[in-house]
C-alpha cells in the first residue's frame, strides 16, 4: 500500500492517506513540525521533530508506530532540531540543530553516535544518499555540504583531515530550502534550492556547479523526475515549475532559461514536493493545507487530500 503522510507547522497531527484509493488512514496526533521535520524510518515507524519556542533550549522529537495515533516515544535532544532524515534501512537518524550541528543517532539503541559542527547557522535540510554513505546538508547560511559517513566515523582520518566535509558549496546567497540527490552513486547530481530564487545543480563527482537556474519566485521544495530529465520546483507563487536537467529546453520561454513549463492551480505557496516513482505521480503540499496529487503526463490534479487549515505538509509515499 502506498500512503501519503503529511504534517504541518500548525498542530494538525500527521495525516495519512492511501494514495490509490484516497481513503484517509489513521491520523497521528499532536504534531507541529518544521519543514523537512517528518520522516518515515525504514518504513517501520514515523519520526518528527517538533517546533519549539524560540526560547527553548532543548529539542523535541516524537516517534509513532504505524498502528497507534499517540506518540510512543519522545526524545529531547540538546538543542532544537529542525530537519530529520533517516537512511533507507532505518538504522540511523540524522537531525540538524539550530546551532549548525548535525546529530546522528542509532535507531536500534537510541544512542547518539556522532555529533559534529557542520554549519555556522541553523541546518535547514538533510538528505541521505542512495547508498547511505553520504549525508548532504543545507543551511541557513546558504552553504550546501556533503559529508561522508566513512570519514565521520574514522577517528584517525578525522584528526588528519583539514576539514570534515567532502565538498562545501557556497554559491547560494541565502538560506537553502531544499536539497535532492539524483541517482548514480558517486557521479550523481545534487540539486539545491534557496531563498535567493535559484536552484543550483552540482556534480558530486567533480564537486562543482553544473547549472544555475533562476526562478521567478523563491523555491521551497524540489522533486526529481526518476529519469532525471527534469526536476519539479514548488515555488512561493503557487506554481510548480518544471526545470530541465537533461531535457531539451528552448532558450526563449516565458519563465527563464532551463524552465520548461509549470503546473499550477492557483493555490497558495507550495511547501513540499514528493515523487512517487511507482505510480509516476507528483505530490505537492501547499500552504493552504491541501496535498495535491498530480499526473505529470497530463499535468492534471487527480486527487486532493485536505490536511489542515494551513499546512506545510511533508508528503511522501511509502
Amino acid at each position: 500500500m502506498d500512503v501519503v503522510i503529511a504534517s504541518s507547522s500548525i498542530d494538525g497531527g500527521i495525516g495519512c492517506w492511501d494514495l490509490q484509493t484516497g481513503a484517509e488512514q489513521l491520523r497521528y496526533k499532536t504534531c507541529a513540525s518544521p519543514p523537512h521535520g517528518l520522516v518515515s524510518v525504514g518504513r517501520r515507524f514515523l519520526a518528527s521533530s517538533q517546533l519549539r519556542d524560540p526560547s527553548a533550549t532543548s529539542g523535541h522529537v516524537l516517534y509513532w508506530s504505524w498502528s497507534k495515533p499517540q506518540a510512543e516515544v519522545k526524545s529531547f535532544p540538546a538543542e532544537p532540531i529542525k530537519p530529520l532524515a533517516a537512511d533507507s534501512e532505518g538504522s540511523y537518524i540524522v537531525g540538524g540543530g539550530s546551532s549548525g550541528d548535525i546529530y546522528l543517532w542509532e535507531v536500534a539503541t537510541g544512542r547518539l553516535l556522532k555529533k559534529w559542527h557542520a554549519h555556522y547557522r541553523a541546518v535547514t535540510c538533510l538528505v541521505f544518499s542512495e547508498d547511505n554513505s553520504l549525508v548532504i546538508s543545507g543551511s541557513d547560511d546558504g552553504c550546501v555540504r556533503v559529508w561522508s559517513l566513512f570519514l565521520i566515523f574514522d577517528d584517525v582520518r578525522r584528526q588528519q583531515a583539514s576539514h570534515l566535509y567532502e565538498y562545501s558549496f557556497t554559491e547560494h546567497t541565502l538560506c537553502v530550502t531544499d536539497i535532492i540527490m539524483g541517482y548514480g552513486g558517486g557521479s550523481a547530481i545534487i540539486v539545491s534550492a534557496s531563498e535567493d530564487r535559484t536552484c543550483k545543480v552540482w556534480s558530486l563527482s567533480r564537486g562543482r556547479l553544473l547549472r544555475n537556474i533562476v526562478f521567478p519566485s523563491i523555491i521551497d521544495a524540489i522533486a526529481l523526475d526518476p529519469g532525471e530529465h527534469v526536476f519539479y520546483a514548488g515555488s512561493r507563487d503557487g506554481k510548480i515549475y518544471i526545470a530541465a536537467l537533461n531535457a531539451e529546453s528552448s532558450p526563449s520561454n516565458s519563465y527563464g532559461l532551463h524552465i520548461i513549463g509549470s503546473l499550477s492551480d492557483h493555490s497558495k505557496a507550495v511547501t513540499c514536493l514528493a515523487y512517487s516513482t511507482e505510480r509516476n505521480l507528483l505530490l505537492s503540499g501547499s500552504e493552504d493545507g491541501m496535498v495535491r496529487v498530480w499526473d505529470v503526463k497530463t499535468q492534471n490534479i487527480i486527487r486532493m487530500f485536505r490536511h489542515a487549515k494551513e499546512s506545510n505538509a511533508q508528503g511522501f509515499s511509502r
Binding site: T173, S217, A269
Partner: protein, 959 residues
Amino acid sequence: MWVGSYSDPSPQTLFKLPRPKTENPFKGGPKAPTRLHSLNPCTRWQVGTRVFILQRKLYSIIFLGSQTVIFSTMVRSKAPSKKQQKKGIDFKKIKRKLGRKLPPPTNATNTEIKSKAIVLPEQSVATNKEGLAVSKKGLTLKELLQQTSHHNAKVRRDALMGIKDLVLKHPAELRLHRYAVIEKLRERISDDDKVVREALYQLFKSEIFPGCAEDNQGLFISLVMTYIFNAMTNLSIDIRLMAFRFFDLVVQYHPPCFSLYAEKILQSYEDILRKNQFYLEDKGKLKSTLYGLVRCLSLLPSKKPGCQKNILGERKIHAFEPDLPTENTGFSVIIKKLKELVLVLINCFQDFIPLLNSMPQLDAQSFDCILSILQSIDIAVRFFIYGNHEESPEANPLQVTWDQTLLSGLSKKLLGVFPLYPKHHLSVKEDDRYFILNIVITEIFLHLREWICPSANVFAKFLEFMENALLGKTCSSTRSGKATWEKHVPSLLPFIPKLVSEVTTDWQSHLLEAFTKTFRDCNPESSLKLACLSMIEEMLIPRGDMHYTEASDPVALDYQTIWIRELPLLLILLGDKWPSSSQVVLHLLLRLGQFACWNSSLIWEYENTQFALCEFYSTCREGNIYYGPFMRLPRDSQELSICCLYYFSNFSTLLLKAITSCCLCPELEPYVLFRIIEVVHAAYKAGHIQFADHISFFITLLSRFKVYPENICPVKESDVQISNCGTFKSLTCMVCSCLSQMGDSSVVFRILEKAILDLISLKPQLDNACAMLRVLIMLDSKPTRLSEQSIIALSNFLPGYLMDVVHCIPEVDGNEVAVSNHVQTCRYYLLPCFFLFDRSNQLVKLFLNVMGSSLTDSSLSLESHNSTQYVTDSLSRMNITVSLLLLIYKDVKVQKIMSLFRTEIGSIMQSIASLQSSEVNMTIEERHKFQCSFERLKIVASSSPVVYIDDASISLSGA
C-alpha cells in the same frame, strides 16, 4: 563560329572549311568591321578570336565590349627596301673644311630632341593584373614572395613592406595563401640583414599573426618553429636574439606552443644567458630576451588548479566529457632543465651586483634586466613549490629533487644581498626601482621560507622590509612613487594571513597594524584595495576548517573589528562609480553575515554595520530623502546587498526605514522591490525583525507607494511602460500573502484594523486605499470582525471612494471588449467593498444612508460631506451615483444583498429624481442620457434578484 588555334597553318586546310560559313560572313557577325587588312593566312591565332575566311585572306575580329578592334599582324610588304636606297642620291653631300664651323645663324631653331624612356608596365596585355590583389607598387603576392629571397637586402625589405601593404588592403589574400606565405617568409627569420629581420618581425606582429588567429594554429606554428629553433642556434648573436623575439611573438599568439617545446626553449635560453660576456654590454637586447623568458615562464602552472569553468547555459548535465590532457601535462619533465636555468639566472643576477655598486645610477635598462631575472626566478620557484607534478616519478619534487646547490645558491647569492639599496643616493626614481626589486626578492623569500629555514635574523630583515613596504616608508612620496607602491604592494599581501598566524605576537601586531594602514590609506577604487579586501576575507572567514574558529586571538580581533567597521564606509565612498569594487565589498559583507560564527564578537561588529549601512540605502534629512549608492548600482549588486539584510539577527528600525524609502522610490526596479519584500519577510520569519516593524514596513509600502499616472484608466498595451499600476497590484498581492503567513489572521487583523482605518480616513489615493481595503478583507472573515467604530468610519469613507472610482474610470462606449475591460478595471477597485458588504449588512445600510444624504445635502454642506476627492458639483454627483449603482447591481451577489435594503435604495432614487427635476443647466442630450441610465437602474433595482445556487460568485479574481 568559334575556332580554336589552328595547328596546321597551310591554306589548303583552311579552304576545307564548310561552305556556308565562307559565303557571307558579315551577315552573321554582330558588327561589320570598319577596316580590313590583308592578313597572312599562315599566322597562328589565339583561342577565342572570331575568324572569317574571305578570298584566301584571314581576318580576325576581337570583341572587346562594344568596340570592335581590328587586329592584324605582319602586313605583307611588297619589296620596299630597294627603292628607298635609290632615293638617297637626291641629297648631295656637301663637303666642308675641317676645323671650321659656321657659327649658327641667329634665327636658328634648336631642333634637338631629348627623350626619356617611359615604362608603363600595366599597359601590356600579357601582364594584365586587373582583379588581382597588388601592392602599392603593383606587385602581386607571388612576385613579392619571390622577391623576399632576392640577394639584395633592400629588395627583400621592400618586398616585406609590400606584403604588409598588400595584406592591409586585401586581408582575404592572406587567409587564402597563409601557408604559402608562411613557408616563404619563415626563411627570412635567420636573415643576415638586421633591417630585413626587423621588417619581418613587424610584419608578423602586425599582420600575419593577428590575421591567422582563428584557424588551426598548430600546423601554422610548427611551420615557423623549426626555423626559429634554427635561428636560435645561429652563430650570429644578433640573429639568435632576434629568434627569441620571434618566439616571444609566437607565444603571445599561441601560448600552448611553449608547453610543446618547453625543454628545447629553456635550453636555448640557458645557452644564450650563459654567454655573460655580451649581455653586460648590450642590455637592450638582453632585456627583450628576458621579457620573453618571463612571458614563457608565466605560462607554467604555478597555482593550484582551482579555476572554475564557467557554466555554459546550454550544456547538458550528464554530457560526456573527454579526458583531455590538461594544460599542465608535459611540464613535469622540464623541472631539471628549469633548475639549471635558475642557476644560470642567479649567476646573471650576481654579475649585475658589482655593476650596481660601480655604477653611479641604476639606469632603466639594467633595472629592467634585473627585474626580469628576478621575476623569472620567482615564477620558477613558484612552479617548483606549487606546480602540479603528478606525473613526475618523485612524489614531491621539493623534498627529493630540490637539490642543495639550488637552495644554497638562492639563499646565498640572491637572498644574501637583500636588501638592495642605492649606493649613491641621487634620485627618487631610483628609490622606487630598488623598492620594486626588493619586493620581488621578498616574494621569492616568502615562497621559499619553509624550505630554506631562514635564521631569525634573516627573517626579521624581511619582516621589517614588509612592514616598511606596507607603511609606504621605503617608497618615495612623489606621485609616481605612490603609484609604484600601489602597483607592487599587492604582490606581498597574499602572504600576510599565513605569516600572521605563524610569527610572534610582536611581529603579528606590527604586520597587522601596517596592513590595516595600507587598507585604510589606499584609493578606494585601486587594485590594492581589492587585494586588501580579499586578504581580509581570508583572515575573517575561516576556509572550511572548523577547528580554529573559536580560538581567535585577541591581537587579531582588534584589527578585525577595524576592518569590519571600515566596510560600510568604503561602500558609501565607492558610491556607484565602481560597481565591481562595490560588488566585492558587498560579497565580503554577505560572507561575513553567513559565517561570522555565533558568540564571537565579530557577529556583534557585523550587527553594528547596519547603522552605517543606512546611508548606503537612503537618508532622511529635514524631510528630504537622499538616496544612497544602492539605487544606482547594477541589479546584481543590489541583489547582493539585499541578501546581506537577511543575516542581521537584530534588524534595526532605522535600517528598515531607509530600505522602505528606497522601496517607495519610483526609480527602483520592480524586480528589486519584490526581492526586498521577499528577503525582509524571510528575515522576519527567521526572527530577525520585530513584529511591529514588519507590519509598519508593509503598511507604509501600501499607503505611500506612488502610483502613476494618477488617473486610473483601463490599461492599454501601450501604457504598460509608463504606468506602475501593475507593479502596485502585484505588490499588494505579495503583501497580502506575506501578512497571511504571519500567523493567526484574527490577531493580525486586530492589530492592523485601527492603523488601516486611520490611514484610510486621510483619503489616500484610490490605488492605495484599494490596497488597504484588500488587506482588510483578506484578514477579515465572514461575518466581519470589524468593530462598530470602524464600520461607521468605513461607511463614511466608502461612498466617496466608490464615486471617485466611477469618476476616474470613464465609461467607454463601443465594442464589447472595451466595455468588459472597463468593468474589469472597475471591479478591481469595487471588489473589496463588495466583500465588506457581504460580511456586514450594517455597513451596507450605513453606506446607503450616507450616499442618499450626500445627494440631498450636497448643495447645503459640500464641505462637510466632502468625502470625495474629485466629484464636486451635484450634477456629476448625480450621474455618478446612477452609474455606480448600476455597476453594483451588475454583481449578482451584491444585487442580492441590495435587495434587502429596498427602502434605502428607494430614497436614493427619489432624491435623484427630485434633483433631476430641479436641475436646470442640463442640455437635452445629457438629460436624455441620464434618463436612460436612470430608467435602467429603476428596472434593475425593482426586479427581484436572480437566485444563483452558486454561492461563491464573488471571488478574489484580481487578487
